[in-house]
């Protein structure tokens, strides 16, 4: 395997270029970490230093979880993105199963509406959703933060594809045994399609953990803020002076997804790029 286009100098040159770009790509992460452990005085020294001159420990991290409710934001992130995912799976899986394995009047119309809705971003129905939620007095609740995302047309679309390739013979055999459709779906078909459900789960959690737009519209009180909203509001109130605490907080709120990514790279890459690939 010594094809001419893979000769040594070219390999070395590629590594040099890629290492340089990798350095640029990682630089913001480096700045985030190093700033979060610098001493306050050092932040305003007008000279860039690669390492903190004196180690101040985790004072900013302690500040982020005591003075600023970073842990509350994390909890809200888990509740909101977890709640959304739970309802999405509960509603999209049966619908996708019906679309994939049944024939019924209106099926093609339903699928056409699903395909259309795939292209609609949250900003399109946002105004009426806000008016509706405020009419029922639900503004500034977890429900308001989650409700617009309870149905994922993307999940329906994806699971329909997956379920279509699930063998009909197995379903038919289970029916012969007298199992209900509901039981067949959740105890036989779903366990057989876990990879695709896992990929969607990563996609959904990443999307809603990171979303700023909708929480900004419906959430007012600090106790209910999701990580991006909490961070944005905190940065604002500090008027940008306390960069150490801000960076510590940014690190804490990005950490769950980063750790997840480093532990399950393949799942993450598959899940996140799924919208692009499919």
């Amino acid at each position: 395997m010594n094809t001419p286009y893979r000769c040594r100098p070219a390999q070395i040159l590629s590594h040099v270029v890629l290492l340089f770009l990798a350095f640029l790509f990682l630089f913001p992460f480096y700045v985030m970490i190093v700033t979060s452990i610098r001493s306050p005085q050092e932040l305003f020294v007008r000279e860039f230093r690669w390492l903190p001159q004196q180690f101040t420990g985790l004072q900013y991290y302690i500040q982020a979880v005591t003075d600023i409710p970073a842990l509350t934001f994390l909890k809200n992130g888990v509740i909101v993105s977890g709640g959304i995912l739970f309802v999405q799976l509960l509603t999209a899986i049966p619908c996708a199963y019906a679309l994939a394995k049944f024939q019924f009047r209106g099926r093609d119309l339903l699928f056409a509406v699903v395909l259309f809705s795939l292209t609609v971003p949250i900003q399109a129905p946002a105004l009426p959703l806000f008016l509706g939620l405020s009419a029922i007095g639900a503004i500034d609740t977890y429900f308001a933060a989650m409700a617009p995302f309870f149905l994922s047309v993307f999940a329906i679309f994806l699971f329909r594809q997956t379920f279509r390739s699930y063998p009909d013979e197995i379903i038919q055999a289970a029916r012969m045994d007298g199992m209900s459709e509901w039981a067949i779906l959740w105890t036989i078909v779903v366990p057989g399609c876990l990879p695709s459900i896992a990929a969607f789960s990563v996609f959904s959690v990443v999307a809603h953990w990171n979303d700023l737009y909708w929480p900004m519209v419906v959430i007012r009180s600090t106790e209910l803020m999701t990580p991006p909203l909490g961070l944005a509001v905190f940065a604002d109130s500090e008027s940008g002076a306390n960069y150490g605490a801000l960076m510590a907080m940014a690190a804490i709120l990005t950490a769950p997804l980063m750790v997840g990514f480093l532990l399950a790279q393949r799942h993450f890459i598959r899940g996140i790029t799924m919208t692009g690939v499919k």
Binding site: F25, E47, P94, F104, A124, F150, I156, Q161, P228, L253
Partner: protein
């Protein structure tokens, strides 16, 4: 290669086992989703379009049908036109740069004998990071006086730049963040396209006298990546078009309106000034442009199947 959207159109459908079941079970299974679809997508969009023909303001009691008045006002609205212009300028910076950088990374990494996994990991990292958190980091990084970027410039004897405080640079600064966070995403899509290019073709090309790797890239790799390329361009365009987070937390449309973009202006109109009617008209413009992109995307996907 990635699975395709339009599989069903070209294939003979097998007889569905479900066909022999009574259809009411299917309706039961689909009902919750249909209700939610009506309540959270279709219904609100119809209401939103209707609102765009009214002068409704949140909190006020009156509502009047004003026909196309909102749209006529948008044509004269300098803020709106500037936002539209800024959005397109932003897309024109982010889409080509993130596509080319993604392609460059994918091709370079694909040719490596060692370290492919490491580089993919590094370049994909910004894709996973929370945009708002990284926006804070970038804001500090490019800060006019204490930002590390400026300290580096100064140590090299160059004048410092206050990127987000400068009317001519702020939009480009935001674009740089998006390019950084989108390139790794595009890299993965291109990498998937590259695995579909067989090794033999390169050997054949070498025998045909294509000596330089640039020749091989232009004459062999690029044409074979054509369908992926079209797709990545459209996807990146849509992503860039929907920019909101960085504007909302870094510049808030400033300095002096130079980073006003469509979604942010619409957000302010609807949820800060509560002028629902004109915000709805802006949303209709936004949605129309999105639909055009989506239509192109569907065409591109069709194209990909026949390729």
């Amino acid at each position: 290669m990635p699975a395709d959207l339009t599989q069903s159109s070209g294939m003979v459908r097998p007889v569905r086992m479900g066909a022999i079941m009574s259809p009411w079970i299917a309706y039961c299974l689909a009902t919750p989703a249909i209700l939610l679809l009506a309540l959270t997508v279709i219904g609100p969009i119809i209401v939103m379009i209707a609102l765009s023909f009214t002068n409704y303001e949140f909190g006020s009691l009156g509502i009047q049908w004003t026909g196309l008045e909102n749209y006529r006002q948008l044509l004269d609205d300098r803020t709106f036109k500037r936002a539209l212009w800024n959005t397109f300028a932003y897309v024109a910076m982010v889409a080509p740069a993130s596509v080319l950088l993604g392609l460059f990374l994918a091709v370079l990494i694909d040719g490596l004998r060692h370290g492919q996994r490491f580089y993919r990991l590094v370049f994909f990292l910004p894709v996973t990071a929370t945009v708002v958190a990284m926006a804070m980091v970038w804001k500090y990084l490019l800060h006019g006086t204490i930002g590390p970027f400026n300290l580096l410039l100064q140590s090299l004897g160059l004048p410092s730049l206050d990127i987000f405080g400068n009317r001519d640079l702020a939009l480009a600064g935001l674009a740089a963040i998006n390019i950084w966070s989108l390139a790794g995403f595009n890299m993965v899509l291109f990498a998937a396209g590259l695995t579909g290019v067989p090794e033999d073709i390169y050997d054949a090309a070498a025998m045909d006298g294509m000596e330089s790797s640039l020749d091989r890239f232009l004459n062999v790799t690029l044409p074979l990546l054509g369908p992926t390329m079209l797709f990545v361009v459209v996807t990146s365009t849509i992503t860039a078009f929907k920019v909101f987070d960085t504007v909302a937390v870094i510049t808030r449309g400033g300095p002096r309106g130079s980073t006003d973009i469509l979604l942010y202006t619409t957000y302010l109109e609807g949820f800060s000034y509560f002028r629902m009617g004109s915000a709805a008209a802006m949303t209709v413009v936004f949605l129309t442009i999105m639909m055009i992109f989506a239509w192109i995307q569907a065409r591109v996907l069709d194209h990909k199947v026949h390729y």
